[in-house]
């Protein structure tokens, strides 16, 4: 997307238009219908003015015939054209939306922006920003283009009848349709900037008071918190009241421009009629046309404000889309030299960091996983464990070092080839708002019900489903699997991973957010289900580690200890300390196990 950028402020809008690649025919049709609707409204008054002015001269009735028909036709045209315009532009906008969503999605899917997906708010904002593109067409572009078309036509008509009147109208429409909306939008922007800090403070005070309510009440600090909300509210209200005086200026200016244009037309017109350079009939038409013409620019101040919001959305959207992919495109898509059978995973001197100035998240990690073995990667939060999972899932490339499967470097193969062999449960696995069946078949699209039930059995979820869900596999699980308990969600994610039948099963914090009872039960089932798989369990807690063939302790991106549970307990170090954490200052507790 290398559009020339006239000035940075407009760039997001132009890029959004390019992203939308609007359905030109439908879009132009919509603009023309819009112009026709507005034009019919103005024309109705112009033709009526001609009708009256001519009738006042008491001509024969035949002189009025055309005008009478035209008046009635214009009366019907406006409503019908407006209706069609709205249908056509909305249809075009929805078609565009489908395109834009697919394009944004494909861009996201290509760059696997895992780091950006940490916050749910961020994702929903991204989705809203994508959808703002359709607003750009319906509410941002169609009205000004329609106004331009019909405005030019009306000015042309006036100029033909009375040159000074046409020039006046042109000036008035430009002021009312361009200068005033831009001026009003600038006022709104300034006021928004003024209020932004106060708004932020109010919002944060409210969030603190409402979410922190139990803590506040328990510590007798609720009143203080409410006073803070009050102060923030008072400040915001003060600013809003002050800005109200300024924000009304736009509306006032619109009315002033319209009124003065009509006034000046009257002034010049009367002089011209008296001077004999303007026909009295044309004078009536020019004045009433000028009176009606400001309907053309009436919607534009709202458009200017809307464009401002859409521009902001666009800037945010491209901010995300422009970020470099974290995985290079695979060198050889056709090549399939990866071992199809059980393979040995070997990680050598793996180093990853999230930016040139950031510390190493993984700083020279070596790791081996032989077929059928189970290893755990253990460490405190922030130690780099999940970065390891990101590399194995091919969400990002290593900055240095190698990851090989039976000697084949995984970065030499298309990402999906690697994921055929290495799969599992990513951190915070997503449960889609669909049925159990659809959620499972994600991992193996052709699977029949028997296979799905078998996977559920292995994840020990089948009995729960039979007991509590009469619809079985057709049960809708709700957004984010809200209708399932935390344990059920993790088991579903596990069943899905088993269906994928990878050679190497990577489980990234599969028991996070579970209470200890559920955690232990899920871990037991998980270990039973993964029997026979080469399994890599990433975890921060110590439960069930005695079942693992080998444990790697990672602290600050380095492997500080490596060995079986018993070996590690026998040596001095992090692992033993973690288990002996009971040593209280007064020496009460000893090792837990």
């Amino acid at each position: 997307m290398n559009l020339p950028a006239p000035k940075p402020a407009c760039r997001p809008l132009l890029r959004m238009i390019a992203l939308a690649r609007p359905r030109t025919t439908r879009f132009v049709l919509g603009v023309l219908l819009g112009a026709l609707a507005t034009g019919a409204g103005v024309g109705l008054l112009s033709v009526s003015a001609w009708l009256l002015a001519t009738a006042a001269t008491h001509p024969p009735i035949t002189a009025l015939g055309v005008a009478v028909v035209a008046t009635r036709a214009l009366g019907v045209t406006r409503g019908v054209a407006r209706y069609l315009e709205r249908l056509v532009t909305h249809d075009a906008a929805f078609r565009t939306l489908a395109e834009v969503r697919v394009r944004v999605y494909e861009r996201l899917a290509r760059s696997e922006p895992v780091r950006r997906f940490r916050s749910g708010d961020l994702v929903s904002r991204l989705v809203n920003d994508t959808d703002a593109t359709q607003d750009l067409l319906v509410r941002g572009l169609t009205p000004p283009l329609s106004a331009l078309a019909v405005g030019s036509a009306v000015v042309l008509l006036s100029t033909v009848l009375f040159v000074p009147g046409g020039l006046l109208l042109a000036a008035g429409l430009l002021l009312g349709g361009l200068a005033v909306p831009l001026f009003a939008a600038a006022l709104g922007r300034t006021s928004g900037r003024h209020q932004a800090a106060a708004r932020g403070e109010l919002s944060s005070a409210l969030v603190d008071t409402l979410y922190g309510a139990p803590d506040l009440v328990a510590y007798g600090a609720m009143e203080q918190a409410v006073r803070r909300v009050e102060r923030a509210d008072a400040e915001l209200t003060r600013l809003a009241r002050r800005d109200a005086a300024v924000l009304g200026l736009g509306t006032g200016a619109s009315a002033l421009v319209a009124g003065l244009t009509v006034w000046a037309t009257l002034l010049l017109g009367v002089a011209a009629v008296a001077g004999g350079t303007l026909d009295a009939i044309a004078f009536a038409v020019v004045v009433l046309t000028a009176l009606a013409a400001f309907e053309i620019v009436a919607p534009l101040p709202a458009v200017a404000a809307k464009l401002e919001a859409i521009r902001t959305a666009g800037a945010r959207l491209f901010d995300v889309l422009d970020t470099e992919p974290e995985v290079k495109a695979a060198a050889a898509p056709e090549q399939s030299g990866l071992p199809d059978q059980a393979a040995t995973l070997r990680v050598r001197d793996l180093r990853v960091r999230y930016g040139p100035d950031e510390p190493w998240a993984l700083d020279g990690v070596d790791l081996d996983l032989a077929p059928g073995k189970r290893i755990a990667v253990l460490g405190p939060s922030g130690s780099g464990k999940s970065t390891l999972a990101s590399v194995l899932f091919r969400f990002r490339d290593p900055d240095a070092g190698t990851v090989t499967l039976d000697g084949a470097d995984i970065t030499d193969y298309p990402v999906d080839e690697v994921r055929r062999l290495i799969s599992g449960v990513p951190q915070d696995p997503h449960i889609f708002a669909s049925t159990l069946r659809e959620n499972l078949r994600l991992a193996r699209p052709g699977a029949d019900d028997a296979e799905l039930w078998a996977a559920l059995e292995r994840a020990r979820l089948a009995d729960d489903i039979r007991a509590t869900m009469p619809d079985g596999l057709d049960t809708e699980v709700g957004a984010h699997g809200a209708r399932l308990s935390g344990g059920m969600r993790q088991r579903l994610a596990l069943a899905r991973a088993l269906l994928a039948q990878p050679r190497i099963l990577v489980l990234d914090e599969p028991t996070a957010h579970l209470d200890p009872d559920t955690r232990d039960a899920v871990l037991d089932d998980l270990l039973a289900a993964s029997a026979g798989y080469a399994t890599l369990l990433i975890t921060h807690d110590l439960a069930r580690l005695e079942e693992m063939d080998e444990i790697y302790v990672i602290v600050d991106g380095r492997v500080v200890q490596r060995g079986s549970h018993d070996e590690l307990l026998a040596e001095k170090g992090w692992y033993r300390n973690a288990h002996g954490l009971g040593d209280p200052p007064r020496g009460g507790l000893r090792a837990v196990r």
Binding site: L44, V47, A49, L52, A56, V68, T71, L74, V76, R78, G79, V80, Y83, R86, L87, F94, V114, G120, V123, V207, D208, L210, G212, A213, D215, V217, Y219, E223, V226, V229, D233, T237, A240, A245, L247, L256, G259, W263, L266, L267, V270, A271, A274, A280, F283, A284, V287, L288, P380, D416, R419, S423, H430, A512, D515, N577, A578, L581, P584, R586
Partner: protein
């Protein structure tokens, strides 16, 4: 949904002022519209009759004056409306906060209903504190959004919708009155078509409502799909389904379009009726006066006046129609606020406040006061057959619990999820009250006792330091966060508390140390660090009773060890209740109580 909610008018005094100003401005606008039309008709017909600038200059000058006047009134209407909107929003916001928190807000027109504060209902709310769940109400986010962005929708309602609504009543009537005097046939046409507009719009709306609502439900479902897929992108990638989804997005969005267009084809009909009726009426009037003018039944100036005024009669109606939906968002937000306020009132009625007879209160104060003043050990707490059932639940969270917590005793409460451990803490904190049985507070040595419900909750909580499972950190400095329960504490005291809580070291590494602002919900810190800030709060509070809810759940071993050391220190010389899943705490406590299904089970 009513165009003007009477509750809105009653509640916010700003709204009443605004209505008066708006009507006044509306009257002025109407007058100016009529005057402008008459003047323009006068000038055009005068010019046609051969009058020049000298004869018409007064009328032309008056048109200029009217242009200025209309601009001034437009400006005034909008500025006043935004001004009122700011005040009304503030008033509604304050009422909302006052009701939800139970703290009276001076700026709100009515204090929370009757007597003692209606109580923080969010605490004993329908969901109740479940084990492993976070603090706060599930609706906290919704309420925060409503009080900020939700209420902002009132701006449009006040500044754009209400003034047009007033004009939609005033202008057509005034126009009709003037036109009737000029030309009764035109007046008849307008008088017949005007009422048709609301009637037809209501008919179309009524006819399509059911269908539209069905469609909106479908739209919501389809609309969420894209968000769902983008959120699930990492999961899709792991299963090699990321690329295949693009086609599905296109298909679903197309379905969305089909469904929406079906709805819109009908929804836009009401606008079609509005536009058709108003323009056809103007066309009819124009032709009719044109013919009468030609036959000499009408003079030119009158005909022009009628022509200019006819569209003005319909303009405000069209504007109201165009702004209806945007403005209704404001009304909807206000209705949501009222729904919250009503809900609180209902609950306050169904759950009568604890008896607070002054005499009993004095007696119960006597139990707590000495401890606060002299720093004695805590009173003894006795649970006598306590049961607790949350409103709207069938199963009790606790049933028939009898338990004595002696001063200085350290008690471990264990049990699986949902066994009632957190509910027991909620009872001790006075967040909820027993549905059966009583919690008795007894002076050490058995020299007096009172039910907990008779002791003012604020007073009682001064005896307690609570470390919740997910402590809430505020978007203020570290210092302010630790000082939560003791705002007057010195920096040295805060530092001492942080040292005891093993928090001083990591606080020192923050960019501004104790002056570092923690960001929304303390996102700057890890779970273990947050836990230690909460422990520092408890140390600073220096209360005789400490309640700890799962202090080390979900912490990695390094953090858990630090928290455990701090907890051991905190329990020294205090009454302590620790809620935990595991029995790893047993060496720190005097007694272990096992809860299962809301009952006390066999001790482990």
């Amino acid at each position: 949904m009513k165009p003007l909610d009477p509750r809105l008018v009653r509640t916010a005094s700003a709204v009443r002022v605004h209505l008066a100003v708006t009507v006044l401005c509306g009257v002025a606008t109407t007058g100016l519209v009529l005057a402008q039309a008459w003047l323009i008709a006068r000038v055009i017909s005068g010019a046609a009759a051969g009058e020049g600038l000298t004869e018409l200059s007064w009328a032309i000058a008056a048109v200029a004056a009217i242009a200025l006047g209309r601009a001034a009134v437009s400006y005034g209407t909008e500025a006043a409306a935004l001004h009122s909107a700011a005040r009304a929003k503030s008033q509604l916001r304050r009422r909302l906060i006052a009701h939800v928190t139970g703290v009276a807000v001076p700026g709100s027109p009515e204090p929370p209903r009757g007597g003692p504060a209606p109580g923080p209902v969010w605490l004993s709310g329908a969901s109740g504190p479940a084990d492993g769940e976070g603090t706060g109400t599930p609706r906290a986010g919704e309420l925060a959004t409503l009080a900020t962005r939700g209420l902002d929708a009132l701006d449009d309602y006040f500044a754009r919708y209400l003034p047009q609504l007033v004009l939609a009543v005033l202008v057509p009537l005034a126009v009709l009155a003037v036109v009737a005097q000029a030309d009764w046939i035109s007046a008849l046409v307008i008088a017949l078509t005007l009422p048709l507009i609301p009637i037809f719009m209501a008919l179309v709306g009524w006819h399509t409502q059911a269908r539209t609502q069905r469609q909106w439900r479908l739209l919501n479902r389809l609309g969420g799909h894209f968000l769902d897929v983008v959120e699930g992108l990492p999961t899709l990638a792991v299963f090699r389904r990321a690329k295949a989804q693009a086609a599905i997005i296109r298909r679903i969005t197309d379905e969305h379009r089909h469904a929406t267009m079906g709805t819109l084809r009908i929804a836009f009909l009401s606008a079609l009726v509005l536009e058709l009726l108003s323009t056809i009426a103007v066309a009819l009037v124009a032709v009719e006066i044109g013919l009468r003018l030609m036959y000499g039944l009408l003079d030119y100036q009158t005909a022009l006046l009628v022509l200019i005024l006819a569209p003005e009669a319909y303009l405000p109606l069209r504007e109201v129609g165009a702004r209806f939906h945007a403005s209704m968002e404001g009304v909807a937000a206000a209705e949501q606020v009222f729904a919250v306020l009503d809900e609180r009132a209902d609950q306050a009625r169904t759950q009568p406040e604890a008896d607070s007879a002054p005499a009993r209160e004095t007696a119960s104060r006597a139990l707590v006061r000495p401890c606060l003043d002299n720093g004695c050990t805590a009173p003894q707490i006795r649970f006598a057959n306590v049961s607790l059932t949350y409103p709207g639940r069938n199963l009790p969270a606790l049933s028939q619990v009898s338990l004595v917590i002696r001063p200085g005793q350290r008690l471990l409460l264990t049990g699986p999820s949902g066994s009632g451990k957190s509910s027991l803490l909620a009872l001790l904190l006075g967040f909820v009250e027993p549905t059966e049985g009583a919690i008795l507070v007894e002076r050490p040595g058995g020299t007096g006792s009172a039910p907990l419900s008779h002791i003012p909750a604020d007073l009682w909580r001064q005896l307690i330091a609570w470390v919740p499972q997910h402590p809430y950190l505020f978007d203020t400095t570290v210092l302010e966060n630790i000082r939560l329960g003791k705002p007057e504490a010195s920096v040295a005291e805060v530092r001492r508390a942080a040292e005891l809580a093993e928090a001083h070291d990591f606080i020192s590494t923050l960019p501004l140390g104790y002056g570092t602002r923690l960001g929304e919900r303390g996102t700057r810190l890890s779970a273990g660090q947050r836990q230690r800030i909460a422990l520092a709060r408890a140390f600073l509070r220096d209360a005789p009773i400490v309640l700890l809810d799962e202090p080390t759940a979900h912490l990695d071993p390094d953090h858990a060890a630090a928290v455990r050391r701090a907890v051991a220190r905190l329990l020294e010389g205090r009454t302590g209740v620790i809620v935990a899943h595991d029995t790893g705490w047993s060496e720190l406590v005097d007694e272990t109580v096992h809860l299962a299904g809301g009952r006390i089970g066999a001790p482990l």
